[in-house]
């Protein structure tokens, strides 16, 4: 969840902080950020978009090339390109760190399809952070959140079982052991709610009976 949050919002938040809300950054950090950006020719938004596109290209190249070479290309590409970009004075070192953390966070999302959606939405939040700071990101979250809440698949809402509230199935936030999940998810409206018979872990009952005898 933390990875999903940073993977989606970190570049946008960085842009919002540096462009609109500098008062939130501690003075020492602000000074170091300003120093690192002194000699750079591009605005921070352009830098961020260039770095994000470069990251996506490296990732795509790594996926396309088969086997171990793909991973090697990714690592070499990131190291060489990042080092060269900083040395050439095209991007600031802080931006490299932000892009790297964002990339790692997006890889940490277990659902691959969700990670794809995050990659696309990340660009939207960079844009929103650039035009209106935290306010823009808040409005964007509101809009995308509303759209997510309106999504349905075969009549089942995407945000089930958080809302609408249905009978608990003990697998939403904290997952109980499989033998404790005796019923199918309520929000799926299945004809038969029971997932297992009553004899789950029957050996336990037999043991307890045996002990009594």
């Amino acid at each position: 969840m933390i990875a999903a949050f940073f993977g989606l919002f970190l570049p946008g938040l960085y842009i919002a902080l540096t462009l609109y809300h500098q008062e939130m950054i501690p003075t020492e950090l602000l000074t170091s950020l300003a120093k690192s950006r002194e000699a750079l020719p591009f605005p921070i938004v352009v830098e961020m978009i260039v770095m994000e596109i470069s990251w996506e290209l490296i990732r795509e190249a790594g996926v396309s090339v088969p086997g171990v070479i793909g991973q090697t290309i990714g690592i070499i590409g990131v190291v060489v390109l990042g080092q060269a970009a900083v040395a050439a004075g095209l991007v600031s070192p802080v931006l490299i760190i932000i892009t790297a953390i964002t990339g790692l966070c997006s890889f940490a999302i277990p659902a691959y399809n969700l990670a794809f959606a995050h990659r696309i939405l990340r660009f939207a939040f960079i844009f929103l952070g650039a035009i209106a700071g935290f306010y823009g990101i808040a409005v964007g979250t509101f809009i995308f959140g509303g759209l997510i809440c309106s999504m349905k698949s075969f009549g089942v809402l995407y945000v089930s079982p958080i809302t609408p509230k249905t009978k608990p199935n003990h697998d939403a936030v904290i997952r109980q052991p499989l033998w404790a999940q005796k019923e199918r998810p309520d929000f799926l409206n299945t004809h038969d709610r029971s997932k297992t018979g009553k004899t789950v872990r029957g050996w336990k009952d037999q043991n307890s009976k045996g002990n009594k005898q």
Binding site: V139, G145, T166
Partner: protein
């Protein structure tokens, strides 16, 4: 059981709480301190009691007409013409609340975040969000409230915990403040901050 096309009491209650909490938190304390002194802490309870009376009245009406919304109740009880007038007044009240709420929100954003940006720019961004959510409908707004409530409430609690270093119990006294009458009057007048409860009545 997943019931398609409706939001439950759970979502409705959270939505109302969010609407009221935001209004009470942002628009109150400093104004109140200048207005009625140190009695602001229990003036809010007077406002809540008055709003509760109003809502109890609406609840009784809706209980009497379980299948109808409030504008249909107006039409059934007062007839077509007078009912239409009352429904129109209610619609205008809601429109006025929306406008004043939007204006207040833009003012706050301008003061806190964007002192140099023109108001029209802030309002335009706000209106885009409102427009999209209006198109999606109240059901999705309520659902989104339920999804985000855990984070929002954590945020509120953290704000109050961080502000706790400025709490001073001596400020609660003298208990009657400068003028009890003024406190009660202000409490009754400011009961409109709980007006969002009408959301439940209109869409119940």
């Amino acid at each position: 059981m997943n019931k398609d096309g409706k939001f439950g009491p759970n979502e409705a209650i959270w939505m109302t709480i969010i609407a009221i909490t935001i209004k009470a938190s942002f628009s109150g304390p400093s104004n109140l301190a200048g207005f009625i002194g140190n009695t602001g802490w229990y003036m809010i309870y007077i406002s809540a009691a008055v709003a509760l009376l109003g809502f109890a009245f609406i609840y009784l009406v809706l209980k009497r007409f379980p299948e109808n919304n409030i504008s249909e109740v107006f039409e059934l009880t007062f007839g077509r013409v007078v009912g239409f007038i009352f429904s129109g007044i209610l619609a205008m009240y809601l429109l006025w609340t929306a406008f004043s709420g939007a204006g207040e929100f833009v003012q706050i954003i301008k003061v806190y975040n964007f002192p140099l940006s023109p108001k029209v720019y802030i309002t335009a961004i706000y209106m885009i969000g409102v427009l999209v959510m209006s198109l999606l409908g109240l059901e999705n707004i309520a659902r989104f409230t339920k999804v985000t409530i855990y984070f929002t409430m954590t945020g509120f609690v953290v704000i109050y915990i961080l502000g706790s270093q400025n709490f001073n119990t001596n400020n609660l006294f003298p208990i009657l403040g400068n003028d009890l009458g003024k406190t009660v009057t202000t409490g009754i007048v400011r009961s409109s901050i709980f007006g969002e409860v009408i959301l439940l009545a209109v869409f119940a």
